[in-house]
């Protein structure tokens, strides 16, 4: 049986189709479902073993990026989501999805409703789309398992600067193995947004919930890479590992 992966849709989410494709390529039975189906009681979160919140501009990011969708999750889907987390089922948030998970408190602290970090405006002050080099950190994340060398993935955001209240939390995240990926290289544009300690991806204390600003679903095949016309690039894109890890982990649950 293929693992059922939920690609959550909401107004303004716009990376759902390619995220569905990435999970399908990774062996999941992926389905895009609008959040209204859950709020209206037509569908249950319990049907799924993986939850992905894709990128986009949920509700226009009108209050702050991801805030409105985070509120919906915290206040209107609290119970099913808590059960999902307690069951240890993987949750992946990419870009806007990362912003949602941080604002919902699931990242980095793992406490629904308690926000401890933020994704602030890029230091450059503008939306930017560019490919970045990412360095894996030794972490608990189940998603980055097996990634041992630098990989490349694109970012496309205006609010991706990972910030916490202070160094203590950053130290703790590093000590706990909750920093999963860092931007490689120093300064702008290698670190495209000015993130604290060049953080690109973080996971919760269990390693089963991860958020990342770069888009793994945009590098599934060789031809999505910006230099495929000039370098030998493997047929399979580096982003696929992240989805495959999630599927394998969920399969074993």
């Amino acid at each position: 049986m293929r693992v059922k992966a939920l690609i959550l849709r909401a107004s303004g989410i716009n990376c759902d189709v390619e995220t569905e494709r990435a999970f399908t390529a990774a062996g999941a039975d992926a389905e895009r479902v609008h959040i209204r189906r859950f709020l209206d009681g037509d569908r249950e979160l319990d049907e799924f073993r993986i939850l992905a919140i894709p990128g986009g501009f949920s509700y226009g990011d009108d209050i702050a990026a991801g805030k409105a969708l985070a509120n919906e999750l915290v206040h209107r889907m609290h119970e099913p989501l808590r059960r999902f987390v307690e069951a240890g089922k993987p949750i992946l948030g990419v870009c806007n999805g990362f912003q949602v998970l941080v604002r919902a408190g699931l990242l980095p602290g793992g406490e629904l409703g308690t926000q401890t970090a933020s994704l602030a405006w890029n230091d450059s002050g503008k939306f930017e789309c560019r490919w970045t080099r990412l360095k894996p950190a030794p972490s608990r994340s189940i998603f980055t398992k097996g990634i041992e060398t630098e990989i490349e993935l694109p970012v496309a955001h205006a609010e991706g600067k990972f910030l916490t209240g202070g160094d203590a939390l950053l130290d703790a995240l590093e000590a706990n193995g909750q920093v999963a990926l860092r931007y490689a290289g120093e300064g702008y544009p290698a670190v495209p947004n000015g993130s604290a300690r060049a953080i690109a991806a973080v996971c919760d204390p269990s390693g089963v919930v991860m958020g990342m600003m770069p888009h793994p679903e945009r590098f599934i095949s060789r031809y999505q890479h910006p230099r495929w016309t000039r370098e030998p690039i493997p047929e399979e894109g580096a982003g696929l590992t992240i989805f495959r890890n999630a599927v394998e982990y969920a399969q074993a649950l």
Partner: protein, 797 residues
């Protein structure tokens, strides 16, 4: 009936003109007289709803009077009559070429070309010039929002896969004291327009990956904003029709007072008061449009509606009026305005009917599907309202709270516009090529050219667009070792599980039009096609879009240059076998100076956009040099034709010798490059355009991170001076590189096509671009990183 207008029935000519002017109707006296005669026949005055509907339907924006009308044309003293520029030259070219892969041409909101057996690609480019002049952010955002709806409203709806953007602005560094009254500074317009396109396109989740930005002082008061969108459509969803009894359903955003008179506003010149006309610019909300797009594509796949169109200029009046109009049968519609969901209360019936509030589409829904469609839309948080139904009474009936506020004869509305004849004159300008000594230091010249705003890197803008969303942009706008080289074109793979792709490119250079609009048009087509060829596409599968932005066509000189450009479009498109599948014109791009009363026009600006389906995206090409030791070729013949070149512009000159497209030569060089690219004989290809060969060599080198050792062969230069050879903008030329092991194959391809080509040298590890003349003397030697820095510095904001 509720009459909110001054009486027309007994008005004098002067009063008719006053009614049009004061009501913002943009109807001329002849047209007002036709309205008067029609209502005299009926024996009553028109209501406000009726006269506004007529004004919208007959506006330049909606009916393209200039392009469809009769023109008395005079060229260098020779006279001829042109019956419709559109039919004669644009559609005429398409008909003559007769390509059966163009499945929908000039009849829908966008043209459609076949991708494979199952899918087609819809492509449309629109302008949003006047709104962007007054309110750059909102104007540009709603420009992109509008063209996306054109794609959603093509056939039964296409899924947007790409946005394109081409802008023309005044100089970004223009001194404030030179700025005309009531005009925003070009830099502010530039930043606002980019932000508008960025915020709308990115929120829609559509990659923006092809475009251009051009600067000229004459765009200061009238910036040009071209927004394009392409979509994927199943071939069995291309046709649509309305049946009497179908429900008129308004879907998407609510109706408000924004954007009233947009269609008529765009059919007038701007002046210093235009800036205060905020209400003509719409307010965009991309999230509403995104929801609507998602829901409509599901409804399309379920087959829930029979026809769809967007609410653009003229709002409901245009959308319902057009859908209710049928050339085959009587048509008709009855709409109840109080049923339209409003943003706020207090709108007069004519305001509801005319509002250009964004994010709205109108559908014709078989009554049996109404409930299912409404449920589907509600499940996606999309509002919908049934306004009435389509009929076969031949009348357009508009009601408000039970009262008839408009009752128009469809026949008069769509065919009652009086024939117009306009006068057009084109006279070749009296120009000469400048005479000057060859500069000693060509490195300095090249560096200066690279920094010119029209040539310089536009990375600042490109990076603000999400060009990766949907995961299908496989040849990106920025290319090369450091992802910052200027791509010729982009390639989209619309279905990630199939290798088929689409090349998108454009061509535009208004400078040539200062010498001859015919050759400007020819060169724009050539540029778009060589960008396609350099990326691995072929002219045999390419279709074109034409977008004309011009000055006031009521002035014979403006219309003369427009007609001359249309002739160029025809001849060259036919010569290349590349049909036009859609197009649009935006006229009246003029600014009237409040003090002198004089009005100045933009340079006639023709944008050619190209769409070329390909079978396999893995056989495409980027422009960056790939490896040291690769050989460098120039394909195509260089002539001493520097009129309108950036080399002359650098010296403050225009010149006279505008480059010409020699169709035989052009086909040979393009086909050779297309084939060599498709057969993977090449490592890179870059077209020679602004700045000529030298700029193409520099860009190829620094994008690849390698130097080049170049020696110009005697037989290539044919006695030209080296500066002329390096900076000539002769069309149909490419700089290509290939590995030494493939050189023989490539030479065979060149010979097979009879293409002229010259081996110029090799790609070098050392990051120096060195150019020697035929005698072996080094005439240009520059560090590629210094060249790149000069090219990037202009817009490093």
């Amino acid at each position: 009936m509720d009459v909110g207008m001054p009486p027309v029935l007994k008005a004098s000519d002067a009063q008719l003109e006053a009614i049009s002017r004061e009501g913002g109707l943009s109807l001329n006296l002849n047209e007002m007289r036709a309205v008067q005669a029609h209502f005299q026949k009926i024996g009553r005055d028109p209501t406000d709803v009726e006269i506004e509907t007529i004004a919208q339907t007959w506006s330049e924006h909606c009916v393209h009077k200039t392009f469809r009308g009769r023109i008395e044309y005079e060229e260098n003293g020779r006279r001829e009559q042109i019956n419709s520029l559109l039919k004669t030259y644009i559609f005429g070219a398409t008909e003559r070429i007769g390509r059966d892969d163009c499945v929908s041409v000039f009849k829908d909101n966008a043209g459609v070309i076949r991708l494979d057996d199952e899918y087609g690609i819809a492509f449309k480019v629109e302008t949003h010039n006047h709104p962007s002049a007054v309110e750059p952010y909102g104007g540009a955002g709603t420009g992109i929002g509008g063209v996306i709806r054109d794609i959603l409203g093509t056939g039964l709806g296409a899924k947007p896969i790409l946005n394109t953007d081409v802008f023309c602005f005044g100089p970004h560094d223009m001194p404030m004291q030179k700025l005309p009254k009531g005009v925003l500074h070009p830099k502010r317009v530039f930043k606002g327009v980019v932000a508008g396109v960025r915020d709308y396109g990115n929120r829609m989740g559509i990659p923006t990956a092809n475009g251009a930005i051009f600067f000229d002082e004459r765009y200061t008061a009238n910036p040009i904003v071209y927004c394009g969108c392409a979509g994927l459509i199943p071939l069995n969803r291309v046709e649509k029709s309305v049946q009497p009894g179908d429900v008129i359903m308004a879907v998407g955003g609510r109706t408000g007072r924004d954007g009233i008179h947009g269609a008529t506003f765009s059919s007038a010149e701007l002046d210093e008061t235009s800036e205060s006309l905020g209400s003509v610019v719409q307010i965009g909300n991309p999230i509403v449009e995104k929801k609507m797009a998602d829901a409509l594509l599901q409804a399309r796949d379920e087959g829930l509606f029979r026809c769809i169109t967007d609410c653009g200029a003229g709002g409901f009046s245009s959308a319902v009026g057009e859908m209710g109009h049928s050339p085959e049968r009587r048509g008709g519609a009855e709409a109840h305005l109080e049923r339209a969901p409003l943003k706020y209360d207090g709108l007069a019936p004519w305001e509801i009917w005319l509002s250009e509030a964004q994010e709205r589409m109108v559908l014709a829904v078989p009554p049996e599907n109404e409930a299912r469609l409404k449920a589907l839309l509600a499940a996606e948080d999309v509002e919908a309202a049934s306004l009435g139904h389509f009929t076969d009474t031949g009348r357009l009936i508009i009601k408000y709270r039970g009262k008839t506020v408009g009752d128009l004869d469809m026949e008069f509305l769509h065919n009652g516009l009086p024939d117009i004849a306009k006068r057009a004159v084109w006279k070749a300008p009296n120009r000469r090529d400048p005479v000057f000594d060859e500069p000693d230091n060509l490195t300095e010249t090249l560096t200066a050219l690279l920094a010119m705003p029209n040539i310089a890197s536009k990375e600042w803008a490109v990076r603000q667009y999400d060009h990766e969303v949907q995961g299908g942009v496989v040849v990106k706008p920025l290319q090369g070792r450091d992802h910052d080289g200027p791509g010729n074109a982009c390639v989209v793979q619309p279905l990630l599980d199939r290798p088929a792709g689409v090349v998108f490119a454009n061509g535009m250079n208004p400078k040539y039009g200062d010498i001859d609009p015919y050759w400007m048009a020819a060169l724009a087509i050539d540029e778009a096609l060589r960008n396609v060829a350099a990326t691995g596409g072929s002219r045999q599968r390419t279709a074109l879009l034409d977008n004309f932005s011009w000055g006031n066509p009521d002035k014979p000189d403006r219309l003369g240059s427009l007609a001359r450009a249309a002739k160029g479009c025809h001849d060259i498109a036919v010569g290349f076998g590349t049909p036009f599948i859609s197009g649009k014109d935006s006229l009246y791009n003029e600014y009237r100076d409040g003090e002198t009363g004089e009005s100045a026009a933009i340079p006639g600006t023709l944008l050619i956009s190209a769409v070329c389906p390909i079978d396999d995206v893995s056989k495409t090409l980027t422009m960056d040099a790939k490896a040291p030791g690769d050989v460098v070729y120039l394909v195509g013949r260089t002539r001493k034709e520097l009129g309108g070149s950036h080399y002359y512009a650098l010296r403050g000159e225009i010149g006279a010798s505008v480059p010409r497209v020699r169709l035989d030569e052009a086909r040979r060089s393009m086909d050779a490059v297309s084939q060599a690219a498709a057969e993977q004989q090449l490592r890179s290809a870059h077209d020679c355009s602004e700045g000529g060969l030298a700029v193409a060599l520099a860009e190829t080198a620094f994008a690849g991170g390698f130097g080049m050792n170049i020696r110009i062969p005697e037989e290539a230069a044919r006695g030209m001076r080296l500066d002329e050879f390096l900076f000539s903008e002769s069309p149909s030329r490419f700089v290509v590189t290939c590995s030494p092991s493939q050189e023989a194959e490539f030479v065979k391809t060149l010979k097979a096509h009879g293409a002229e080509a010259h081996r110029l040298g090799v790609v070098a590890e050392r990051p120096l671009l060195v150019v020697q003349d035929a005698g072996g003397q080094t005439r240009l030697s520059a560090d590629i990183f210094a060249l790149k820095e000069a090219w990037q510095r202009t817009f490093k904001w």
